[in-house]
């Protein structure tokens, strides 16, 4: 059905364009920025491509953004729990756009609110996974030369985006006056300054938290210091069997390595795309359509269907008309 695939791609692109153009007016009526509409379109297209139901056809202008968004998009399924605190702040931000008096408060809130986060990843000591975080700064009336919302992309180690202590760190970092000043700079400079600021801040806090766990004074149980075999009296009901095997290891590095092993399989489950053909074939083959006529003679059924979309073995097909036979 190769020719059909090209048809399907074209049809989908057409539908996306039609929908986006049609709702543009509705978006403007509600006072929502065009940038959100564009984000909707890009996220929609990215998900389509990552679903592998059709062949990707991308505009060259969108590819660079798409590659970044795909990376975060694939991990987006696990963002829901981590995002509980941030969307509330972002909701208040959206309702109070250009209030000059709230500029210092609004900006960091927008930064954390607009950030797309990744799943829990290895702590900083071994493999550091950086996640591109897009900070969208809403237009601020009080800042000169900053009339449109701009997007700054910084790379944040994934563990910093976790909830709890680590997530609060990120918020504090982004709330500092230095950051606020940086956000008013042009995009490239702001990106560099922010990136350095985040790196410095996180390195110092990571070093601090590690020394804390070594001392064992005030034990941080989550974030970089998370290790269930640090203290014997700390019992974690969620332990996997793997962690029980490593009870002999008291070294923090080994514990971190073991966490890597635990978290790798966990993270790999977050992957939405399925490359394995045997898994791909498990999809629920669905045909959504309209019927012209359904007839039955004894136990022989005949179907006359039209205007349908099919998802068979993970791939999408469309038809104008379909006729079928089956025996009950």
């Amino acid at each position: 059905m190769a020719a059909n695939q090209a048809l399907v791609s074209k049809l989908y692109r057409g539908v996306i364009e039609d929908v986006i153009n049609g709702v543009r007016e509705a978006f403007l009526d509600e006072g929502i920025d065009e940038a959100v509409l564009l984000e909707l379109k890009q996220n929609w297209e990215n998900k389509l491509q990552s679903s592998k139901a059709i062949d990707p056809v991308t505009d060259p202008a969108e590819t660079s953004l798409q590659s970044k968004l795909q990376q975060t998009g694939q991990q987006a399924s696990s963002t829901a729990p981590a995002n509980n605190s941030t969307p509330q702040q972002a909701a208040t931000t959206a309702k109070q756009p250009a209030a000059a008096a709230q500029t210092p408060v609004t900006t960091p809130n927008a930064a954390t609110g607009a950030a797309t986060t990744a799943a829990a990843a290895a702590p900083a000591t071994t493999t550091v996974r950086t996640v591109p975080v897009q900070i969208t700064v809403p237009p601020q009336a009080g800042v000169a030369g900053h009339t449109a919302a701009k997007s700054i992309t910084v790379h944040v180690p994934a563990h910093a985006l976790q909830g709890g202590a680590a997530g609060a760190q990120l918020q504090t970092i982004l709330s500092s006056p230095a950051v606020t000043a940086a956000l008013s700079l042009p995009v490239e400079m702001a990106t560099t300054v922010l990136q350095q600021h985040i790196n410095n801040a996180l390195q110092s806090t990571a070093a601090r938290s590690q020394s804390r766990t070594d001392n064992g004074g005030v034990t941080q149980l989550d974030g970089p210091g998370d290790s269930s075999d640090d203290d014997d009296d700390v019992e974690d009901d969620d332990d996997d069997d793997v962690e029980e095997e490593d009870d002999h290891d008291d070294e923090e590095i080994d514990a971190d390595n073991e966490e890597n092993a635990d978290e790798e399989p966990l993270n790999s489950e977050d992957d939405v795309t399925d490359d394995d053909p045997s898994v791909l074939f498990e999809t629920d083959n669905v045909v959504v359509c309209q019927y012209d006529k359904i007839t039955r003679s004894r136990n022989r059924w005949k179907f006359h269907l039209k205007d349908g979309i099919m998802n068979i073995n993970g791939r999408d097909y469309v038809f104008q008309k379909a006729n079928g036979d089956a025996e009950w």
């Binding site: 020719a3 909707l40 389509l48 509330q88 998802n311 068979i312 999408d316």
Partner: protein
């Protein structure tokens, strides 16, 4: 309002997921998301009626179940072969959900 049938397709589900994410971030309101979905329904129905031209046939080994409720047919077939002129694709189990092609869906002016 056209049939909401096509919301449970790759295109429809990805749109709903994207809209849900935007609502979560507080970038759009649920009412706006609903408007987008309604527009999607209309566009989808029109596109399928006008832009798609191909026909195909299928043959199933067995019809496992059939259901007709609220003018919607739902079939579960097994061992199905779909044929589009020269090309073929097979499915072990296929679910068909079909709305009435002749009825005029209830219209609601937004």
């Amino acid at each position: 309002m056209a049939y909401q049938l096509y919301r449970n397709t790759t295109l429809g589900n990805t749109l709903q997921e994207t809209l849900d994410e935007l609502i979560q971030f507080g970038q759009i309101t649920p009412q706006l998301a609903l408007k987008v979905l309604v527009h999607f329904d209309r566009t989808m129905n029109n596109s399928l009626a006008q832009k798609v031209k191909n026909r195909l046939t299928f043959k199933a080994g067995k019809l496992n179940t059939y259901r007709f409720c609220d003018n919607v047919w739902t079939f579960l077939l097994s061992d199905v072969e779909f044929r589009d002129v020269s090309e073929l694709c097979k499915g072990e189990t296929v679910k068909i959900v079909a709305c009435d092609g002749k009825a005029v869906p209830p219209t609601k002016d937004d």
